[in-house]
Symmetry: C2
Subunit: 172 residues, 2 copies
């Protein structure tokens, strides 16, 4: 307690900590991303905690949900959607298989590829546990009116497009 505290909440993001200069446009942009990082990572921690109660990682959760709603998927497809490495998706499906929730199946027509498929047990798992997570999500954002939620969704979409435009050159 004899050492400096200078706690200045929400000034620095959880992981990205740029300085703010309230007057110039740089400040506005930085402030936006800092706050987004701060809020998003708070949400992420809450969701992860909720998912962890079912003994799953977020990637496992996402995989199960995709397989439930879309049916069998190639490992590569899951990989691209989850944005993990090719090694990562192999290990991920291994884990789900060890839990008895998912199986690999051969892909007729391309013997390099493998499908991931929900087992009956996996299907039951999703049906029993995922609805509660959905209710949790709804609660988290319920401080905003539905109109605000829609407007926020729209603006974030515009932000996403801006990001894509300004990074497209890198990958071209």
């Amino acid at each position: 307690m004899s050492c400096p505290e200078n706690f200045d909440p929400a000034f620095y993001a959880s992981r990205y900590a740029w300085s703010e200069s309230p007057d110039d446009p740089t400040g506005v942009a930085a402030k936006l991303l800092i706050r987004m990082a701060l809020v998003y990572r708070t949400i992420e921690r809450e969701l992860e905690a909720d998912i962890a109660r079912h003994g799953l990682t977020p990637s496992e959760f996402g995989t199960l949900d995709m397989l439930y709603h879309r049916g069998p998927m190639l490992l590569g497809d899951i990989q691209r959607r989850l944005v993990v490495s090719s090694g990562g998706i192999t290990f991920l499906v291994d884990r789900l298989a060890a839990k008895g929730l998912v199986e690999r199946k051969a892909c007729p027509g391309d013997r390099r590829a493998r499908f991931a498929v929900l087992t009956p047990e996996g299907e039951r798992f999703v049906e029993e546990r995922f609805p509660a997570h959905g209710r949790f999500v709804t609660e988290l954002v319920s401080g905003l009116s539905e109109e605000e939620q829609v407007e926020l969704t729209r603006l974030i979409g515009r932000l996403g497009r801006s990001v894509k435009e300004h990074t497209a050159q890198d990958e071209g």
Copy 2:
């Protein structure tokens, strides 16, 4: 190519993949969080890539930036701001020390505590390299007008408060 593609971009988030039901309020909430996850994680990857060009992780970057703008900080203070574990902050400062950018210093008045301090080399590092990152950040969001950026920042702040309210009970 003989296997199903069914690519349906932006339907599933990068890590959290709930189904969307466009009509009920659950759908609105889920859509918001899915899109936020998708966009935020895209941004995060871009920023990480930019930071990695300087040989830093995001946490290292954040630490250096904090130390530069705030001066010496206790490890525990950095830890709380970065939202990492106590073991994590020790390892993080170890890494920065190994790179010669940061030093530990004793805290007069509390011999349990340690300060992290920027070395002269660390100070030079920040001054030379961080401005370019700031410009990168500004560019990423430049597809939005300044008014939109301000409005988005405001709404995200409200979202953050909503999340905090609806999770405060857990910790009480």
